[in-house]
């Protein structure tokens, strides 16, 4: 959900055909007023794809929707890959732009996007949950301007905020005993300084 004092934008998904999980789905976008009345609704499809929208941001007359797609690999419909995507919709001319990361599951899950002075920063996490994590910088034309990978302790990052000049990332850390410890990562892009802290182990299984 995103919006201003007068309007609210909601995202969701609806199935266009069939009942299987990976049949064609569409992403819908609703514009409402603060009384809940719908001004308009749009729907977008990426073809034979399951869509999992995660977040919508309203910035400079544009809506940026991030999430992940689940698509068959080539013509092999028994094998699927998870892909992060970003879709930008300009309210003025109703034009769209969209990007994704092709290939097998890697940085598959969208875990949070923020608006910055130069565009956007998006947090991408491994489609297998604990694994690779990347901060992807984009300008407002959705051109990639930088990407940085977080390395070290096995972690599942979710949630991204700006805190002063630093980026704050929510994370659950794991060790070889499969103990899980929730905490955070503070990253200063200017100095490259990283601070990661967690609670002592809180639980041994994960939801």
């Amino acid at each position: 959900m995103a919006g201003s004092q007068q309007e609210i934008y909601l995202i969701g998904k609806s199935m266009l055909t069939g009942s299987l999980a990976y049949n064609q789905e569409s992403l819908f976008l609703l514009r409402l007023n603060t009384d809940g009345q719908v001004f308009w609704q749009k729907a977008f499809s990426f073809g034979h794809t399951a869509i999992h929208p995660k977040q919508v941001l309203f910035h400079n007359g544009k809506l940026l929707i991030t999430g992940h797609l689940i698509q068959p690999e080539d013509n092999n419909t028994k094998s699927y890959s998870t892909k992060w995507f970003a879709l930008q919709y300009k309210l003025q001319d109703e034009s769209t732009q969209s990007i994704s990361i092709p290939g097998k599951a890697y940085y598959g899950h969208a875990q949070g996007t923020i608006v910055t002075d130069n565009g956007y920063i998006s947090l991408l996490n491994d489609a297998n949950y604990f694994g690779q994590t990347v901060l992807l910088s984009m300008n407002e034309a959705l051109e990639i301007t930088g990407s940085q990978e977080l390395l070290g302790t096995l972690m599942l990052c979710s949630g991204l905020m700006q805190q002063g000049e630093q980026l704050l990332i929510g994370s659950v850390f794991s060790n070889s005993f499969k103990d899980y410890s929730p905490g955070y990562i503070l990253y200063h892009p200017g100095t490259q300084h990283v601070l990661a802290k967690s609670s002592p182990t809180l639980f041994r299984h994960f939801l």
Binding site: S100, I144, L150, G152
Partner: protein, 126 residues
């Protein structure tokens, strides 16, 4: 999966759900001050950062999605949903506990702990 919540004055909270086998699930709430400090001892995790090979030209390139189509949305139907609320859950701070009025439990002892808002705490449920 954890959630991150911004609090006033650059304080923040990490929350989520975890469980131990054969035990009740827990909701955990971990508040931090603006410096990332907590009321409990924290472990330092080893995390570094490096430029990733995620460019507009590399093997893990980000590319424009060619198959994006704006489609006719099947007219979504909206209806008003009547929601009734009841007091099924009450925050501990909503009650002022008068020890004189607490009836003792079967074993004669009843302990009520009021969680400190500055300390992490877990809310268990079956």
């Amino acid at each position: 999966m954890s959630s991150l919540l911004a609090l006033p004055d650059e304080q923040f909270m990490v929350s989520g759900i975890g469980y131990q086998p054969e035990e009740a699930s827990d909701v955990y709430l971990l508040p931090f001050n603006a410096k990332g400090e907590s009321a409990c001892n924290l472990n330092t995790q080893q995390v570094g950062i490096r430029s990733a090979s995620l460019t507009t030209a590399g093997p893990l390139a980000v590319q424009e999605i060619k198959s994006l189509l704006q489609v006719k949305s099947s007219e979504l139907q909206f209806e008003e949903v009547r929601i009734e609320s009841s007091d099924i859950c009450t925050a501990p701070d909503d009650y002022t506990i008068d020890p004189e009025k607490i009836n003792p439990g079967p074993n004669g002892i009843r302990t009520i702990r009021k969680p400190s808002p500055s300390k992490p705490h877990r809310i268990g449920y079956k």
